[in-house]
Symmetry: C2
Subunit: 501 residues, 2 copies
């Protein structure tokens, strides 16, 4: 993988200086075109051997291009806010918006390589990290991002020579190298694990570019040309994404559906309701104050038919708690800033820190519900959303976040009655719009979309709970009970896990 | 100030229960109207005596109203990211957007009171904090925010009774009171300093409401009614701000202006330029790596005539540094999310952490330049901006941030030549638009605006530097030199300060 980057690539100064002006101009032009189109972001990942010119190249790119359109991001020590969130949160919060370039100097690859080289974990964990990076990049590319991955390489001999010369350079000596690169063993391990990482994460939509870093003229020109070519190509392509068209989801042959199999007649009488509601609320209040909550967070997703009673159910959950413990996120159409980012970005922003509870009133599932049914995104977009969402929720789960998802289901007749009631009551009239009436015509389309959604995203780490909501009392108690059971199960797993050690 | 909140206010249960349904309905209606209009945010500050029902009231408000439109924020321990920024940064990042309500439970008042009560500082520092809060709230109100400030009060006897009863309540005993309220002295000091704070910060646009907290029915109804009345009133008023019309800025009688007094003929020849540029760049690189930088950050503001060479000057500054050390913020028209916040919000987001350097390519001064000249905001808005900006920059300065502001000035003839040149060069054509040509007609208006801006915002803590920019070389060297001198002066002050102790 690195062989051709150890053969002593070099370019003479004259050739370099003759080429650079035109290259610079073309890069600038491409950069302004990128800004003008504002169709996609550019993400440049900088990795490789210490002393191979990573820093110098980033500096040069900022000189060649307009630095006002470039964001250079480093990811050193995690802040305490970052430590309280899933590992990928720190990258999501730094993503460049459409039309801009982000240089990630230190990134998910540096993290996984340092961990492995220093022996903080073994291959299986490295492979998990590789897989996560692969999935993240695929999602970013599907969302339109243009990703360049540069690996700056040096042979062992070249590296030693470079480090010796840098030692006496006051511009470099102040920086402490993160790994002890003077040791042969470090180099060997870095290259070995680097090879494994590159092999598994070089993809047609985001290939690695290995650059021999010894000769500054060669490496600068090589990087500049790769960037320019990639930029120009992407600026000419007019579709949002390269991945298109997948096999459609088959219809159920026997017309039986999960939603159809719910017993919509279940109900609670008033006395039972009040008794059980108070009991479950007290249980939730207790669980949220439990010391095990310090290692967990809670995410509750509320989806459902219009007028299924999401708001009322959420209020009963909130009533159990101190308002400082939870945060309710109402999800509507994305704002301008949110549209300039990958689809899941606005939900990553709202991921709770450990100890906290976030309620999503509608959620990322809009992608496979309203956006699918209304055609707000392409079929390819909502088709890939299922696995992107599964990835997202798995990351939440792995960080200790308990994810509970509710579909509140009512039948058509019940919805009709509630719509009519809303039109009568003054302070409820805000809740009903023309659009709600129109959506009723799409009932079969939504039913199919919900069926597919549950089939494809009800997972062990984040299962769906279908809630029979014709009777509001039944629904509210079931919601609270499900939350409680999920928290208790998570706390129990902790205990088991600790005993296992 | 607290006398009438110690007289035993109470409301009987029947009256309470008769009133609540209508109050709730009206509050909900007001809340939806607020969301619909999306004209202003509502900020509710919760302060007062421990045990006086602060938490219970916040919980109740979330039950009465739609909790999806309410954000409850607590400000406990600062995170390390917050500690690396000016103190007000943590509040700015949590401001509710227009159309939403933010409950600040724990806020600037709790911070200053706890500090003073615990003897961490004395009255002069308390008074500084009071003044800062006063200015912040005035700015927020001028920006349209509706602020409610509630002080929940108890007499000493009432408090002791409440704390005794809470002690045995499992819902409360888990929480540890931040102050040792059992001591008489704490109560006395809290009330004494609280009185000082309330006296000085009760304003017609954001008055304090002192609520006797002993009787739950009374305090709930009182808070609910105040909120409802204030909301309804604000929803009816149609102007953006209550403060309107101030004395206009007088024209200079003798027609002499600061800009007119610049010697626009100054220049550097190529050899001098190259020598001095490299020298100043090395000096900046050295200063940015100096260990004193850990206690400082650097903010550079670039304003100037169109085509004055801001971009070129910024690139020469950037070229001195490692791209990981600086961040360039190009300022254009605000996005949708930014328009839903007070004017300075989007700049607060970009304030650098300690050790970092942020370059603003155009800045908050847009308010008193383009927005004034083009009439994008009212006269009252840009008139008050001068002092808001001075407050903002003083906060940066107090947090150790060195603020350097450049106005790059060219004359009309030079601008004409540069515009014509830009139209000829392919990769510069992005830089010139119809609007640039139109702006030339407004030259005298901009000259006046710049004059007023410098007169009113060139302060000791953040002075303006006027840069003669007809000669780009001269301008670039002057910019770099000014940055260096500002940093060196700040480091020197540190030393003096330390010796003084």
């Amino acid at each position: 993988m690195f062989e051709s980057a150890e053969i002593g690539h070099a370019i003479d100064k004259e050739t370099y200086e003759a080429e650079v002006p035109a290259l610079r101009e073309a890069l600038l032009e491409a950069q302004y075109e990128l800004k003008q189109q504002a169709r996609f972001p550019v993400i440049i990942l900088i990795n490789g051997i210490e002393g191979a010119g990573k820093g110098e190249t980033v500096k040069l790119l900022n000189e060649w291009m307009d630095p006002r359109l470039i964001e250079v991001r480093t990811f050193d020590q995690q802040t305490d806010e970052e430590l309280a969130h899933p590992p990928a949160w720190r990258y999501w919060r730094q993503l460049p918006a459409k039309g801009r370039m982000g240089v990630f100097f230190g990134n998910w690859y540096s993290q996984m390589l340092q961990g492995r080289v220093h022996g903080r974990f073994k291959d299986p964990v490295l492979d998990q990290a590789i897989h996560a990076a692969d999935r993240l990049e695929q999602m970013l590319c599907d969302e339109g991002a243009l990703i360049f991955k540069f690996w700056f390489h040096l042979s062992k001999k070249q590296m030693k020579a470079r480090l010796d010369s840098l030692k006496d350079d006051p511009l470099h000596s102040w920086r402490i190298s993160p790994l002890d690169w003077q040791q042969t063993r470090t180099y060997d391990r870095f290259v070995r694990f680097g090879e494994r990482v590159l092999r598994r994460t070089s993809r047609e939509y985001a290939p690695w570019h290995v650059i021999e870093g010894f000769d500054p003229c060669y490496r600068s020109l090589a990087v500049g040309r790769i960037l320019l070519e990639g930029l120009q190509q992407a600026l000419q392509v007019r579709t949002e994404s390269l991945h298109q068209a997948m096999a459609p989801i088959g219809d159920s042959i026997d017309r039986r559906s999960l939603l159809g199999s719910l017993d919509m007649s279940v109900r609670l009488d008033k006395a039972d309701y009040q008794h059980q509601l108070i009991e479950e609320q007290a249980r939730l209040a207790h669980l949220m104050r439990h010391k095990a909550m310090r290692r967990h967070a809670l995410v509750a997703v509320f989806e459902g038919n219009d007028a299924a009673g999401k708001g009322g159910a959420i209020r009963r959950v909130a009533a159990a708690l101190d308002p400082r413990q939870y945060h309710i996120v109402p999800v509507a159409a994305p704002s301008e800033d949110e549209r300039a980012q990958p689809y899941l970005w606005r939900f990553w922003r709202q991921v709770p820190a450990l100890g906290k509870f976030t309620v999503f009133d509608r959620s990322w599932y809009g992608r496979v519900l309203v956006e699918r049914v209304e055609g707000f995104c392409s079929e390819a977009d909502w088709m890939r959303a299922y696995s992107e969402i599964n990835d997202f929720e798995e990351q939440l789960h792995d960080a200790g976040i308990v994810v509970v998802k509710f579909w509140l289901a009512i039948d058509e007749q019940t919805q009709l009655e509630r719509f009519q009631e809303r039109e009568q009551i003054p302070f409820k009239r805000f809740k009903i719009t023309e659009e709600d009436w129109r959506n009723r015509d799409k009932w079969p389309l939504y039913r199919d979309a919900v069926g597919d959604m549950v089939d494809r995203t009800s997972t062990e780490v984040a299962p769906w709970t279908l809630v029979e909501a014709n009777d509001k009392r039944w629904a509210r108690v079931k919601v609270l009970r499900t939350l409680n059971e999920a928290l208790e199960a998570a706390f129990k797993r902790d205990k088991k896990h600790r005993k296992g050690h």
